[in-house]
């Protein structure tokens, strides 16, 4: 079993209105060091597979098909072996 942690964000260069709103919120709280905020979605999947390769292939297929919209989003993920 593997645990996949997937992060989906808007592609760099695409205006992220929620990120901008949070950034200006942080600035107004005095966190002037914040240069950029990217908002996104975090998903945790438990996968019943035997190999890490199989798990990453599955995650990539699911991201391409449903979890991310390639027109405007990108994703990263990590895998953790569950015992």
């Amino acid at each position: 079993m593997f645990k996949a942690s997937i992060c989906v964000t808007l592609r760099q260069g695409i205006l992220d209105p929620a990120g901008q709103a949070v950034k200006s919120g942080l600035h107004s709280q005095g966190f002037g060091a914040v240069e950029q905020v990217r908002m996104g979605k975090f998903m945790e999947l438990i996968l019943n597979t035997h190999s890490e390769n199989e798990a990453s292939d599955l995650v990539r297929a699911m991201c391409a098909q449903l979890l991310a919209n390639p027109v405007m989003e990108e994703y990263t993920f990590t895998l953790e072996t569950l015992v």
Binding site: P17, A21, L66
Partner: protein, 233 residues
Amino acid sequence: MKFGIVVFPGSNCDVDCYHAAKVILGQPTEYVWHQARDLSAYDCIVLPGGFSYGDYLRAGAIARFSPVMEAVATEAARGKLVLGICNGFQILLEAGLLPGAMRRNDHLQFRCEVRHVRLENSRTPFTHLGRAGEVLALPIAHAEGNYYIGSQELEEIARHSQIVWRYCDTQGNVTPAANPNGSLENIAGIINKRGNVLGLMPHPERAVEALTGGTDGKLVWTSILKWWEVQHA
């Protein structure tokens, strides 16, 4: 002419679309559940607005895998008319039947108000009774109407006159102030290259009675019917 109004779990403009087709146009109209797999009986398929599957993940992302969407793609490939309004437009984008994607409104607010759009392409089955440059007042009601498309594809849809409406002021000027959601180049509605699948964020079905929000939306419905009548004359 027979209309099929697709109903997803969470559709909420299906009754308005039914009214426009059945009462305003006086045409045979049926609701079609999202589990349907055969839409060959219909001449025009309408994907109505709403919040299919609660807008979970992304607006339209889950509805696009409903069994009915395969049938929609089949009929679209046969040249049938497909009209996606608001959430229906989002579903057509997610399904790849129209190019581009929908982001959250740039101001992050849900906008429910009457806005003006300028007709850019009056040579489609959905708009041929209008004239290019004509300004329509139509209600909008969405939080994800911020249309996005890559710059190369934008050039392509512009070159093929696929941009059908842009948000404008009352005089027809396309300005940033007239843009209610941050949509790229004020785009409010587009059509596929073949010219039989159209999506728009404003609600023409909510503007068919003088008593409730004006009649500018009738242009879309009457154009569809007239186009079909000419094809089948």
